[in-house]
Symmetry: C2
Subunit: 425 residues, 2 copies
């Protein structure tokens, strides 16, 4: 079938009639499928089953230095796990703090800390008149949620194929000292799956922000999360920052939520020693330490980075066919129709689809009406406001492939139906 | 031996000479003992060993409603654990949020939330000019640490045998709308082991604070933690508050840190639905949920409140001789000397000793010099400042009884030595 944009009204009417019939048939199936969140599927959780009871006696509850992990203490986390996360984040182990089960929580606490205590010797953000954050779009809704919760104004920055548009980023941060930070998912970005190019990372490291308390929130959520055999490589932001004396710029995060168990993984953050001193001062009052037995479980299960990487091969084997299912449907049904575009990601948890301007909410609503839940339209933008109303995030990980196939049939149909209806207006 | 206060100079000199000799003998022993923190001993940790691997397969990772605890979700915590904590805190289960491994962290987050988001529809505390907190003294250093970290001015309120001096509390909160809260450990208070009387609880419930955003931080850390067979009963603050329409006043906390593992327990908080709406709004941005597998471990281990209570009998059996050792030394060596006073607690983690005014730091320093670490003098007061320099907190839980006996021999000696030196000045 040809490009919708070159159809005349009659052709569009005929196409619509056909699509409506197909849609009604879908509705009759009473589907109940969910592609809304980047949630690992059951098979993925099962591959970490052995970790559940891997620590079974008190003799195993010790760090390599003999510290009893059942008891209080060790705010930084157990040394072996600091080292593992240091390798994953490409920083020094003494720059790492291992936390609880959620890197989102660590990001929230980090923003909260800069709000009330400030960073870089500057006035706490709550005491500054108005502050702003740059948000590469489309991006991760929970990042935007944190800055929105704290009343920080968010400014959209367009994503390019190599990361955020660095001309825009450089211009804005140099000109405006009320801009205090930027949210980044530098590898397999959420939702587009874009890995920042070496040049982008270097330009981040070389930023000259007007605000001394400007920080880069570098959420390396998908650092080891390939979904094809063409895994991508991200340059180390910390190494680049150190080269140009900008080591206080980045604050790095990652976790094992999508490596072991989303609800019971281990998170970590890393930053320069001078930044960490500010964050650790807060942590010292906030807690006596995070769950060290769970850290031990992870270390006994993985042993080292090689253990993590070979475990990630198992995730890849499970995720690859799911991503392929999604992309095959898009390729087969939407290529050359002029009504949708997407990128094939090599990792991460999402496929980002741009439908015709003004149609994203309609597509999501049509899918929902027929029993398939997608991430809400607009969710990938600050304030839930996608100015073009065109971006939709598809999360292929949770449903089994057969369900994905059905859901993607419906999705492609809805993209076409919404487009036809728009073109007929 | 007689009361030091009735000795003449010559008698004091003779006593001092004897004490110094004993002290030198102690120093020669090169002791290395720690009575500084309320840290459970190894025996106590061992009684929960079976919990480590009690969840061993994916089939056990489900809530009773079938939700997969390995995955994301369930911000409030698993229903069975909400119910258990509801019983421990004497509130409704829907008022409970089950958190991570640290109730201290939940208290910190709660204060942080009221700082930046406000409570009761009032202006966030950071936007109010100056705010204050009442601190019953002696009290818990980590409570005072949180309010100090956020720059909240702390006002000492004296403890009585029935809890904080309620005449002082009522007077202050009614008169001053910059007073926003009070820290309470209502059962087996830290460090004195005082359980608030029914009248005290009722007076708390009936407070008429000038500030609409005044809240009671009710840290029920030792709700099931008897150390003698004369366990005490605390009136339910929430029930009393509901009776007088004051249910927004209290915010309750507890955890299993001193029931299972200090580093890997489960914490919870509870408050009125209208307060919880404010806190949960924050939590919704802060995290997707806490470690539910660890909640399952606890529920499978305990099953219900009876399970917790019978487990606490084992802790009591371990702690009882330790507390008896401390108290026997105090009774035998310091009774009727006029230089120290203390209370025999029926629960909690500490024995609080008031030595002669001006002598606490000297006693702690003498002990330290001879190899026994105590909680720093002043730690039980806001800003580390004990105006009388007389309170010392003894933590009997961690050292074995034989070590405790040695440490307490030294402690009593140092109390006497510091007193004699003071009296000779």
């Amino acid at each position: 079938m040809s490009n919708y944009l070159s159809m005349n009204n009659q052709q569009l009417m005929a196409e619509k009639e056909k699509l409506v019939k197909e849609y009604e048939a879908f509705k009759a199936k009473n589907l109940k499928l969910d592609m809304s969140r980047g949630k690992p599927g059951t098979e993925q959780l099962d591959i970490s089953e052995k970790m559940l009871d891997i620590i079974s006696s008190e003799t195993e509850c010790k760090t390599r230095d003999g510290l009893d992990c059942r008891n209080y203490g060790l705010l930084d986390g157990i040394p072996s796990m600091r080292e593992l996360f240091a390798q994953m984040l490409e920083v020094d182990a003494n720059e790492v703090l291992v936390g609880g089960n959620s890197s989102l929580n660590m990001m929230f606490d980090t923003i909260s800390c800069m709000m009330t205590a400030g960073i870089g010797g500057c006035t706490p953000w709550v005491k500054q008149d108005k502050i702003k954050f740059l948000c590469p779009v489309p991006g991760y809704d929970r990042h935007f949620g944190i800055t929105e919760y704290f009343g920080i104004e968010m400014i959209n920055v367009p994503m390019t194929a190599t990361g955020p548009d660095m001309d825009v980023v450089e211009g804005l941060v140099a000109a405006d000292d009320t801009i205090k930070g930027i949210w980044c998912v530098p590898k397999y970005s959420n939702p587009q799956g874009i890995t920042y190019s070496d040049e982008t990372v270097k330009r981040f490291a070389n930023l000259k922000p007007a605000a001394k308390d400007f920080r880069i929130m570098w959420d390396n959520a998908y650092c080891v999360h390939d979904v094809t055999d063409n895994g991508e490589k991200l340059l180390s932001i910390m190494d680049e920052c150190k080269k140009c004396g900008n080591e206080d710029l980045p604050i790095l995060f990652c976790s094992t939520s999508k490596i072991t168990f989303p609800g019971s993984g281990v998170a970590a953050m890393a930053s320069s020693l001078s930044n960490m001193a500010v964050f650790k001062k807060r942590y010292t009052y906030q807690t006596i330490g995070y769950d060290k037995i769970n850290m031990l479980r992870h270390m006994k299960f993985f042993k080292n980075l090689d253990g993590v990487l070979s475990h990630m091969e198992k995730h890849k084997a499970i995720l690859k066919p799911r991503f392929e299912a999604v992309l095959t449907h898009l390729d087969n049904e939407l290529t050359d129709k002029g009504i949708a575009s997407w990128k094939k990601p090599n990792g991460g948890y999402f496929v980002s689809v741009d439908v015709m301007d003004g149609c994203a909410d309609k597509v999501v609503a049509l899918c929902k009406e027929a029993g398939v839940v997608l991430t809400g339209a607009g969710a990938t933008f600050p304030y839930g406001n996608d100015p073009k109303n065109s971006n939709i995030r598809i999360a292929p990980s949770f449903p089994p492939v057969d369900e994905l196939n059905v859901a993607m049939d419906l999705f492609c149909l809805c993209v076409k139906l919404a487009a036809v209806e728009k073109l007929l207006k």
